[in-house]
């Protein structure tokens, strides 16, 4: 959904350009365009670091601080993942982005029949606190923050992260975790949901409330337009739906009688970058402004720093191709450039081999080097928001703002984001668009180099990350050993208390911490929630 549509005449002259979000692009922009869209510097831009933050959330941008680089990593056992973490940190990675295997994300232990063939495949396998202790051994948790890519069981994993940090001698005030913890987008895209909408959103409320109380540096939710975009949304929908989803989580916490300024500053976002660069830049500039305005006007947020749209902008999986995979290295560089021009605080790139499998260390290192090169060699730290003031950029930023608002209004009219996800309304919209996009690629209306234009290179075989069945067996063995060695009565007691808390609507986080410390497994804790909450029923889309 990232490619613009070009209409060309017989002489290859472009007569019309339309961005997927619905903005038509002119041949030339000038001051009259700013007038046409009603652009005013103070209202629409203001200085960097000042409301409405169109130009970025920090006054000095990358001059004061380069972006945080987080490459997504994790595979096999916690021990092997720990080695990859240390490899990335030793090469200058400044944050971790932890991948969990599918059984962990879906709340199954490694010895569950549902986990067969999947243990440690797309991320590391976590069964209990013992695995977390191994995964983060020797990593300075006060300096290195960790994104935890987990959603349905984010409450369990966050409790486990805190329990692990405490065991390693860190106080909860100094650690910084960013669980993804966005279940509504899982129901729209990615598909790693377990519990029904209402209790699932409530669990997110629990993690936010718990973080306010105990882990002030933790970002308890990372609202991910990213995966909605991957599923077929336009850039305007990606941003609009993400803001609505964030609002749903805010509403849940407000019901618990907190002041919005107490927690919303810890919200973070995860957005996608691929396809047309200008549309991308406009999306982020308009998005920052809309989020700030949403918080100020709809929720009465007072502190400017709580209105920041912070987050990880990067990835670009949908833009990468299986054909001529080395081309993805160049694509990644341009996505990184777009991230910098958009003012990303944190970024990470999909690696060139990800259309085949999870990245090899070499591919992951190339992605990291791409980002380092952009920050150090080509001048992206020179000045803040270098595109500001361009007639073109400011005009389409205003137009993008309008498109995002339109998408938000459509969903509000359809009953709001929770209803639109529960009924499958949004899923149908994005599935339809994904189909139209694919047809556009196959018909050659949307251009991808090496796919439907400039093709013909002989297929190449990339070096593949090997899935190691032995690691999976080791994981199952160590889980069995854990079950023999732990105090079974303590496990049963803490799980019983968790069940009571879930049934009576208490915040489950302190109870999850107790379960984790007793070495209860992810599967056991998930089972308690399934028994109390039930499971999500997927709406029919096709």
């Amino acid at each position: 959904m990232g490619l613009a549509r070009y209409i060309k005449d017989e002489k290859d002259r472009i007569s019309r350009v339309t961005y997927p979000s619905g903005i038509d692009i002119k041949t030339v922009y000038g001051p009259e365009d700013l007038e046409r869209v009603g652009f005013f510097y103070e209202k629409d831009l203001a200085d960097p670091g000042a409301y409405p933050f169109t130009r970025g959330i920090h006054r000095e941008g990358y001059r004061s601080r380069a972006w945080t680089m987080r490459q997504y990593a994790g595979f096999a056992t916690a021990g092997e993942t720990n080695e990859r973490f240390k490899f990335l940190i030793s090469h200058g990675s400044t944050g971790l982005n932890v991948a969990f295997d599918l059984p962990t994300q879906m709340g199954y232990d490694s010895d569950d029949p549902m986990a067969e063939g999947e243990v440690g495949r797309v991320g590391m396998a976590i069964d209990s606190l013992r695995d977390f202790e191994a995964a983060f051994a020797g990593i300075d948790l006060a300096k290195i923050g960790a994104s935890l890519t987990v959603n349905a069981v984010a409450s369990i994993i966050l409790a486990m992260y805190q329990a692990m940090a405490e065991k390693h001698g860190y106080s909860p005030e100094v650690i910084s975790a960013t669980p993804q913890n966005d279940i509504l987008k899982e129901m729209i895209g990615r598909g790693a949901w377990i519990f029904p909408v209402e209790p699932a959103v409530n669990l997110i409320g629990d993690t936010i409330e718990h973080s306010i109380r105990t882990m002030p540096k933790t970002n308890p939710v990372s609202v991910s337009g990213y995966h909605i975009r991957e599923s077929g949304a336009t850039a305007a929908q990606e941003m609009g739906y993400a803001i609505l989803i964030a609002n749903a989580y805010i509403d849940n916490v407000l019901k618990r009688r907190y002041d919005v300024d107490q927690f919303v500053g810890r919200f973070s976002f995860n957005f996608n970058i691929f396809g047309n660069m200008w549309e991308t830049v406009a999306k982020f500039r308009a998005g920052r402004k809309l989020w700030a305005r949403n918080l100020k006007e709809r929720y009465g947020v007072k502190k400017p720093q709580n209105m920041f749209m912070r987050g990880m902008f990067g990835g670009g999986g949908s833009g990468l191709t299986k054909q001529e995979p080395e081309n993805n290295i160049m694509r990644g560089a341009y996505y990184g450039l777009a991230a910098a021009l958009s003012g990303a605080q944190t970024t990470g790139l999909c690696s060139y081999d990800e259309a085949y499998t999870i990245p090899t260390p070499h591919a992951a290192l190339l992605s990291l080097r791409t980002l380092q090169l952009l920050m150090e060699e080509v001048g992206l730290r020179d000045t803040v928001d270098p595109l500001a003031g361009s007639y073109f950029i400011e005009t389409i930023t205003k137009e993008m703002e309008g498109k995002i608002e339109e998408e938000m209004e459509k969903i509000e009219k359809a009953g709001g984001i929770i209803a639109a996800v529960s009924s499958g309304h949004i899923q149908r919209i994005v599935a339809r668009q994904a189909y139209e996009f694919e047809k556009g690629i196959q018909a050659g209306d949307l251009l991808k180099v090496g796919v439907n234009i400039y093709t013909g290179e002989a297929p190449m075989e990339v070096e593949l990350h090997e899935y190691d069945g032995v690691s999976a067996e080791k994981q199952v063995e160590s889980l069995r050993a854990l079950k023999r060695e732990r105090n079974g009565r303590e496990v049963a007691r803490t799980l019983g208390e968790l069940e009571q808390a879930a049934k009576t609507g208490k915040n489950v986080m302190p109870f999850l911490m107790d379960c984790c410390k007793a070495y209860a497994t992810v599967g056991e804790m998930t089972r308690v929630f399934k028994d109390v909450f039930g499971e999500f029923r997927e709406p029919s889309i096709i």
């Binding site: 063939g117 999947e118 797309v122 599935a431 189909y435 029919s540």
Partner: protein, 133 residues
């Protein structure tokens, strides 16, 4: 009127990336086939049960997690046990080139990695489903 080809597009296992499965399901529908989409997180047993109940001609598996070999092997074994070993099985998703031959040895008739044109999939099914005309 010729009989419509009936396809079960299925998402086995824990992988939740279903954009490709839905896109292909839509393309097969537009090509005049009858399509059933399993929804996410289906076990192999559930998929075979749906295939038997619905009497489909084709089982199309969409797998993005890398677990295509063990999952497909299990499915074909189960299909044989349930007396539908004659149904055509095709696989799509994130499939490395070197695994295509391995999948065929297991008994998969067609493999369509990400980016395979709709036309190729549709023509393959029309040519290879028995008595589809």
């Amino acid at each position: 009127m010729e009989k419509k080809i009936k396809v079960l597009v299925a998402k086995p296992g824990l992988d939740g990336h279903d954009r490709g499965a839905k896109v292909v399901a839509q393309a097969l529908k537009d090509a005049g086939m009858e399509v059933i989409y399993s929804g996410l997180h289906r076990t192999v047993d559930e998929i075979v049960r749906i295939a038997v109940q619905e009497d489909v001609d084709v089982i199309g598996l969409s797998i993005m997690s890398g677990a295509h070999l063990p999952i497909t092997e299990k499915l074909i074994k189960k299909a044989c046990e349930q007396g539908i070993g004659d149904k055509m099985v095709v696989v799509g998703g994130v499939i490395p080139t070197r695994d295509i031959e391995k999948l065929k040895q297991i008994g998969v008739k067609g493999v369509f990695p990400g980016g395979a044109p709709f036309k190729e999939i549709v023509e393959f099914l029309k040519e290879n489903v028995p008595a589809a005309g």
